[in-house]
């Protein structure tokens, strides 16, 4: 999942003709000031931190400016703020519009109906979760034949738009539908969508692109989204790797087994700190690579849980032993392994000769991992 920052989402919107405020991106206070001074951003304007986590309004990261000097001051105040560990490095400066009502509009996937869905509410500008269900309209859209005029009419009715404003919504929905399909988006969200005179303007933009469609969209390969540094490295190497709050590193194969392993560790009093899903690979080189990435996250102990179905336990063991050799002595950590299934005996032997204990009992070995992590707080 690639989360786009507001300015990135808006540049996608611009390509498809979604109406936006005039605006520019600045990466320094000086740049913010000159954008305003040069008339590239009209005054008065709004200066917004470009971070992926919410709550920037309350956090003082959205400010207004009526002069170039005020724009500089606002930029200085915002740049460098931190939101859930994410530093503000970019600002979006936009003209401040005189807006009427604020609406909510999004397009995403309804997994149960297996269809795209339009979510619309006349109560925009607030967190949509806080709006009562009765005031939120949901309608699915069939990819064949695509978005139709009666779906657009229903959205207009829900949003209280008629005449020129409804026609403006028509065009906006056509554009959003194209963004959703052609950009392989998981989510396209505008909140607030502002009524400005006879038309509509997207004041914010939240766009999430699906990772799996990367082969169609090399342009998003460089967008980091809200990944940590190590997660970003993992993504480049195609390794499923997520950092959590605890101290036990978990390596397993398959998302379900990985989650089940976390469940077991937590049940036994442990605190998983990273999880790494090897997926279907048992290529020793890939295992080594994954393990070294895990080492960079500095876990207190690592628990390896492999069920060898297609995966060969001995191949995984080989990669693991190779990786342990490459970790410097002062950075080593206890490794507890539980391997089972395909070539289990061979794998156990390879681990044993490298001094790594392994069992085939999930509960017992998970307990050992929890104990090991406690032993080195």
């Amino acid at each position: 999942m690639v989360k786009l920052a507001e300015w990135q989402g808006k540049s996608v919107f611009r390509k498809y003709g979604v109406p936006l405020p005039r605006g520019e991106v600045a990466r320094s206070a000086a740049e913010a000031e000159s954008l305003v001074r040069d008339g590239k951003v009209p005054l008065p304007c709004v200066v917004k931190a470009q971070v992926l986590s919410g709550g920037r309004g309350k956090g003082g990261a959205v400010r207004f400016a009526s002069t170039p000097e005020e724009a500089r001051a606002a930029a200085e105040a915002i740049l460098g703020l931190e939101f859930k560990g994410e530093k503000v490095r970019e600002l979006l400066l936009e003209e401040k519009l005189t807006i009427g009502r604020e609406l909510y509009l999004s397009l995403t996937l309804d997994r149960t109906q297996r269809l795209p869905i339009i979510i619309a509410s006349a109560r925009g500008g607030v967190e949509i979760e806080s709006v009562p269900d009765a005031e939120i309209d949901r309608q699915t859209v069939d990819p064949f034949p695509g978005l139709t005029s009666y779906e657009k009419r229903r959205a207009a009715k829900v949003l209280g738009l008629a005449g020129t404003q409804a026609r403006s919504l028509d065009r906006l929905l056509d554009a959003l539908w194209k963004v959703f399909q052609q950009e392989d988006a998981e989510l396209v969200e505008i909140n607030p969508l502002a009524v400005v005179g006879d038309g509509l303007v997207a004041l914010d933009a939240k766009v999430i692109i699906e990772d799996d469609a990367g082969f169609r969209h090399p342009e998003y390969a460089e967008v980091r989204g809200d990944l940590t540094e190590l997660e970003e490295v993992a993504r480049e190497k195609d390794i499923a790797f997520v950092q959590l709050d605890g101290n036990i590193g978990v390596i397993a194969n398959g998302a379900g087994l990985t989650m089940a392993t976390l469940d077991v560790l937590k049940e036994l009093g442990g605190a998983p700190g990273v999880f790494l899903d090897l997926g279907g690979t048992d290529d020793p080189k890939k295992v080594t690579e994954a393990f070294l990435l895990m080492a960079r996250a500095k876990p207190t102990a690592v628990f390896l849980n492999i069920f060898g179905g297609v995966t060969r336990c001995d191949s995984v063991a080989k990669g693991l032993v190779e990786a342990m050799r490459e970790v410097p002595a002062n950075e080593r950590f206890p490794l507890i392994a539980r391997i089972r299934g395909n070539n289990e005996a061979e794998g156990t032997e390879i681990l044993r000769s490298a001094g790594i204990t392994s069992t085939s009992d999930l509960r017992a070995s998970a307990q050992a991992a929890v104990d090991a992590a406690r032993g080195r707080p």
């Binding site: 297996r114 990819p143 939240k206 699906e210 799996d212 998302a255 469940d263």
Partner: protein, 293 residues
């Protein structure tokens, strides 16, 4: 009897000349599946593991009367591979390929549905009925013929659990790995009626995951229509809420989609819910005894 596959299932392996295709064509044969054809464009006339290769699914069906397909082609080509199978008249497609964009899968699902083709997957282990047939990649060794049905959204975790069932001395009637992608061709609700109708299934194990509302929907179905004992496990109880699909996702699932809501719904529907995977075999034993009563 069994669910969806049987001794008359004749499998064409799409992407048979790739590594995975070749390996699993062999494994399916070893399981006892009639693997009658492979398809790789441009490779017609060759053989893989003794299986004749064709340029198109249509050619394969004409020559071998294949009636099920196992798809291993890489994600960028998976959409068209599935459509090709549907157009060639295949009515059961197991899509093993992972990382298929969900926008592609939407097209695949709705097109297949309009033609009466069932998709299992994508990104799934497939389906197996010990003693009858296997289409997909579930390891042969975990099985033993029996009367426990299994439906799961997971891959390896399924093998682990099926294997655990085997160790208790019980066996499986049919096991379906649905795949964990956002859009799957067959959901719990789609699969449950098949097991309800299957005279060879006494009890059902259901392995779910956090995310989506497939388990809640299944619970609703079980409560009203499913009469056999159910043992369930939901993986991810302790997983972080983490990387959600924005606010819109929350609006769709509103009040559902967590391990807690899934467990509660399943318990309310009368299922025995395991807290941890290794509790499943015990619960299955209880379930089977209750079914015999």
């Amino acid at each position: 009897m069994s669910v969806l596959v049987d001794r008359d299932t004749r499998v064409v392996v799409q992407g048979i000349t790739g590594h995975q295709g070749t390996v699993h064509a062999r494994e399916m044969r070893l399981f006892g599946t009639s693997v009658v054809a492979g398809v790789t464009p441009g490779k017609a006339g060759t053989e893989v593991e003794g299986v004749p290769v064709f340029d198109s699914v249509r050619d394969a069906v004409e020559a071998t009367h294949a009636n099920a397909s196992s798809i291993f082609v890489p994600a960028p080509y998976a959409r068209d591979a599935l459509l090709e199978a549907v157009d060639a008249g295949i009515r059961l497609c197991v899509v093993v390929t992972e990382h298929i964009p969900f926008h592609d899968m939407l097209v695949m699902y709705h097109y297949a549905r309009s033609k009466g083709t069932r998709i299992i997957g994508p990104n799934c282990p497939g389906i197996a009925s010990p003693g009858a047939s296997k289409v997909g990649i579930i390891p042969n060794v975990v099985f033993r013929p029996g009367r426990i049905g299994v439906i799961s959204r997971s891959g390896t975790l399924t093998y682990e659990i099926v294997s655990g069932i085997k160790e208790t001395g019980l066996g499986q009637s049919t096991c379906i790995g649905l795949g964990g992608d956002p859009v799957v061709g067959t959901t719990f609700v789609d699969a449950l009626p098949l097991f309800e109708a299957d005279p060879d299934t006494d009890a059902l194990v259901m392995v779910g995951e956090i995310g989506g509302t497939a388990e809640e929907d299944a619970a609703e179905y079980i409560r009203h229509h499913f009469t056999k004992p159910v043992v369930a496990y939901i993986a991810g109880r302790s997983a972080p809420p983490g990387k959600r699909m924005g606010h819109a996702g929350a609006i769709i699932t509103r009040g559902k989609g967590t391990a807690q809501t899934k467990v509660a719904a399943l318990e309310a529907a009368g299922a025995r819910v395991a807290r941890l995977p290794y509790e499943i075999p015990t619960l299955v034993g209880e379930a089977v005894r209750s079914a015999r009563r």
